[in-house]
Amino acid sequence: MTAKQFFKSTAFKCIAVLLSIVLICGILLTICNSLFYVSAEERTARAVAKVFPGEEVTFEEDSVNTRYADTNNYTVEQAFTMTGTREGQYLLSIIGKNGYNSGTVTCWILVDAVSGTAADPGSFNGISKVVITGNEKQSFINNIGDSDIQAVIDRQDEDGFSAYSSSGITTGATFSLGAITNAMNGAKTYTESVYCGLVNPYEEWIASANITSATTYTVEDGVVTYNIVTAANSPAASFTIEIVVGTDKTITSYTILVDGTQNWSSDAIYDSFVGKDAAFFAGVIGENGEIRDNSNFGSNGISTGATFSNYLCLSAALFATANYDTAVAEGGNA
């Protein structure tokens, strides 16, 4: 085929037409992209405006502290310090995890807090507003009304927020509300740690992700007695558990003082923790608490149908046994 024949052929016409259309479309899109570009600042302002409808607010965006931003229960995506008329408030965009079908709920959470440092700590004063902006797999999330979220906000105690304690909030979307509660507890933990300077004394200890600063322990003759207060793991609420670890680094006594499962837990199950060491508990849930699987629980003979509560109880047991040496070295704090 000669060059002349090629330029007259259908093949050349196809290439020319297709390239022309692509070129024209590309130029058009380039022009429109510059005309309709939405900057990151504009997107942030839009998102924040949804939290404060009809109100002009000012704020400063903070960089997210990665150390406290991501846990098994929540991820902090963005953080803002409100200024002007809303000074003393912090706005966090948080993904609450462990919702229905292992999905997530994304929320904006407005927190009231007094800022501080480790030397001069501030205080967390509560949550003013929760705005749900998105979710994954939460088919029944529309069952959750503003009054349900307000009920969770109102039920704050020193261990955090709880949607599911002795008088549960009935929505028909228990796990979605659980994910929202996880986000709210995440907002509390993050604000306390980053803005208020209320650092958890156990954060350097092994497997401390679900252990709150309210936890205490005593050491006597090499025997460590913990009074562990766990975080909530919605739908399970916070547990308070007394665990005694003997000199052989195994549990000699395990007593649930405050049960976060509406009395679903079985003493027989937790009695089986006696005599077990850190290696056993780490084998079930892992030191980072990354495994939460009924089948895994079941294979260790501790399946109860209350997985979220089991997870907290196992976390407490792992914390107590894995940190025996540290506790003995520190000498107690109660």
Partner: protein, 226 residues
């Protein structure tokens, strides 16, 4: 019948893309749990479908047959991207409500289907009418099913709460699928009945005309005999 009227009726009713051709099922199932989102998606599809039909019709004599599908895809993808940019800039709530399904309009079979089946064989004006009519048919179908699903699934209409009772299933794609199937049944039954009635009426008219012609013919023969 006026050809524009026929194109319009075909697009909205007799070749309704959702109920009769069962095209564009992905956004249908994804969005009909919310009537407002369904309406917004329908309006977006009207714009994209009309513009794509017009452009493809205008270029139909330039585009070689061998590369027509890639050309259509490029044109449709460009239009959808433009619409996304405009919505993101000026109607961010709509942009967020439609989410990823907005980008999926590119592969919506209604748009490519009308380009291939209609726009590349008809004039720009006819293609524009077809785009609007088919888009309206799609929008109506989505909105009607959205109203039913939202009412049953959330007890609300276009976001306005009107009753406390709701059946959660109808807020899910599974519930949407049930409503979709029942809607197809109902729409097909109505159209069938309408067309049957039309056929009966036409047959009756033809029979009467035939009998009238016979009588007229007999009279002529008798007259001849007389």
């Amino acid at each position: 019948m006026n050809k524009y009227k026929k194109i319009t009726l075909d697009g909205i009713i007799f070749n309704n893309p959702t109920f009769m051709l069962v095209l564009g099922t992905c956004p249908t199932l994804g969005l009909i749990s919310n009537a407002l989102s369904a309406l917004e998606m329908g309006l977006t599809v009207i714009v994209v479908l009309t513009l794509s039909n017009m452009i493809i019709s205008a270029l139909r004599n330039l585009i070689p047959n061998e590369v027509r599908i890639p050309c259509y895809i490029v044109v449709i993808a460009t239009l959808v991207t433009l619409i996304r940019m405009v919505l993101d800039k000026f109607l961010p709530d709509v942009y967020e409500a439609l989410g990823n399904l907005l980008a999926l309009i590119v592969v919506n079979c209604i748009i490519l289907g009308r380009a291939e089946a209609f726009a590349n064989k008809h004039t720009v004006a006819e293609s524009a009418v077809d785009g609007v009519a088919t888009g309206i048919g799609f929008t109506m179908a989505l909105t009607v099913m959205g109203i039913i699903c939202e009412f049953l699934g959330k007890g609300s209409l276009f976001g306005l709460q009107i009753m406390d009772f709701s059946i959660g299933l109808f807020s899910t794609p599974a519930g949407a699928f049930i409503i979709f199937g029942l809607s197809i049944c109902a729409f097909t039954a109505i159209i069938d009945n309408f067309q049957r009635a039309k056929r009966v009426k036409a047959n009756k008219l033809a029979r009467e005309n035939l009998l009238g012609a016979d009588e007229a013919g007999n009279q002529t023969v008798e007259e001849v005999k007389a």
